[in-house]
């Protein structure tokens, strides 16, 4: 958990961190949106297909198995604009988890899921895929400190 007092510092630290861990970075951020002309499943499968040359069928099955963990199989053929905030967050998290030995970085999670009041949803979402990433770092503002009860500082 990395909390910052202002946007400039947060952006700078986030940029430094992402550049340092570029090879294994799995970024979850509004600045790294899902590709709008691809289905959710293709967005997530893309990582495995591109970096590990996994066949489209195998990658799709893998993605479907992960979506099933969240009970979100029904969003596999949806596109970004049709998703709810929570569905979008899970899709972006899954995509980040697809990176091999990924270091997941969640950039200001409450801007992605503004309707969520505390970190319980984020904690649960991370727990579902905790076998798929090495580390997870959350970058947020200091004034959201009270929202992070489950994950802790």
């Amino acid at each position: 958990m990395r909390l910052f007092e202002d946007e400039v510092t947060l952006d700078k630290e986030l940029n430094d961190f992402t550049e340092k861990n570029r090879e294994t970075l799995g970024l979850v951020s509004l600045d790294v949106p899902l590709i709008s002309n691809l289905d959710v499943s293709v967005n997530i499968a893309l990582i495995k297909q591109y970096h590990e040359n996994l066949s489209a069928d195998k990658a799709q099955n893998l993605v479907l198995s992960y979506l099933t963990r969240y009970s979100l199989e029904h969003i596999s053929s949806k596109r970004n604009p049709a998703l709810t905030n929570k569905e979008r967050f899970c899709a972006m998290l899954l995509r980040a988890a697809m990176v091999r030995d990924s270091i997941i970085v969640i950039d200001r999670p409450f801007t992605i899921i503004p309707d969520v009041k505390d970190d319980r949803f984020i904690y649960d979402a991370l727990k579902v895929v905790d076998d798929s990433f090495k580390q997870c770092h959350i970058f947020d503002y200091l004034w959201f400190k009270d929202r992070y009860g489950m994950i802790g500082l």
Binding site: V32, P33, L34, V42, A56
Partner: protein
């Protein structure tokens, strides 16, 4: 007077810069095209989708236009050949007009109108939506994943659809040659085959490949010119499509010069 000279100079510099940038971008794409590391499961999937969108979805419209336009044109051309008493040059004239000139030109116009504009808008929207940033953050090379499949698709689509157009129009030519000259299928085929020139076919093939390459490359390049502002999308598409049209005319003129020298 000085203002006019300045304007001419600025325009010349801009045109030269655009031309140079397009060629250097083309060089990058060609290098990637012959690098086997550029191809993976994701790029192959994009290529298949692109071929479907460009070459398969367009088929009903393409067949309709080929039959209507091609048949009428063949009727007129064969009638003129008959009126001018040029029946002995029938095969040569048909091959020159249909295979070398008409087929690539009609095909490239149809694909440019439909797919080039779509590619231009798609890349511009991706740029505005920061989706290219997504690819960058996930270490996905946009040249491999986005641009290369589209350019390869452009080349394949123009070559294949142009050949298809030629077949459709030459088939309709059979009808008119039977009506006007009383030629049988065998005689008509013989006339065409004896008139087929290997050099012309190579020129036609190279022309189709060049058309396909540039009518996808230019929209991609102009799509990348979009800024983070939504209003930059129509400007990027407009500029891109104007340049696509200029490129089509330029390649056509170049090929005509090559044929006639």
């Amino acid at each position: 007077m000085i203002n006019a000279i300045v304007r001419i100079g600025t325009t010349t510099i801009n045109v030269t810069k655009t031309f140079r940038d397009t060629l250097s971008f083309a060089f990058i794409i060609i290098l990637k095209m012959f690098n086997k590391n550029s191809y993976n499961s994701a790029t192959r999937q994009v290529l298949i989708h692109q071929i479907y969108f460009t070459s398969v979805q367009i088929l009903p419209l393409f067949i309709g236009i080929s039959i209507i336009f091609g048949t009428l044109l063949m009727g007129i051309v064969l009638q003129i050949i008959k009126n001018l008493g040029l029946a002995e040059h029938l095969g040569r004239i048909i091959m020159d007009i249909v295979v070398t000139e008409l087929a690539p030109f009609v095909t490239v116009l149809l694909i440019a109108l439909r797919s080039s504009s779509a590619i231009n808008a798609e890349i511009a929207v991706m740029k505005v939506n920061k989706e290219l940033n997504t690819l960058d953050k996930f270490n996905i090379d946009p040249v491999d994943y986005l641009f290369l499949p589209r350019v390869i698709n452009g080349v394949l689509s123009v070559v294949l659809l142009s050949a298809f157009f030629s077949i459709l129009v030459l088939t309709s030519g059979l009808l008119f040659s039977k009506l006007l000259f009383g030629l049988s299928l065998e005689s008509y085929s013989n006339v065409l085959l004896s008139s087929a020139n290997f050099y012309d076919i190579i020129i036609s093939l190279v022309k189709c490949c060049t058309f396909g390459f540039f009518i996808t490359l230019i929209p991609i390049r102009f799509g990348l010119h979009a800024t983070n502002d939504l209003t930059s999308i129509p400007i990027a598409v407009l500029n891109g499509m104007v340049d696509v049209f200029i490129a089509i005319i330029f390649i056509e003129v170049l090929s005509l010069i090559l044929i006639f020298i």
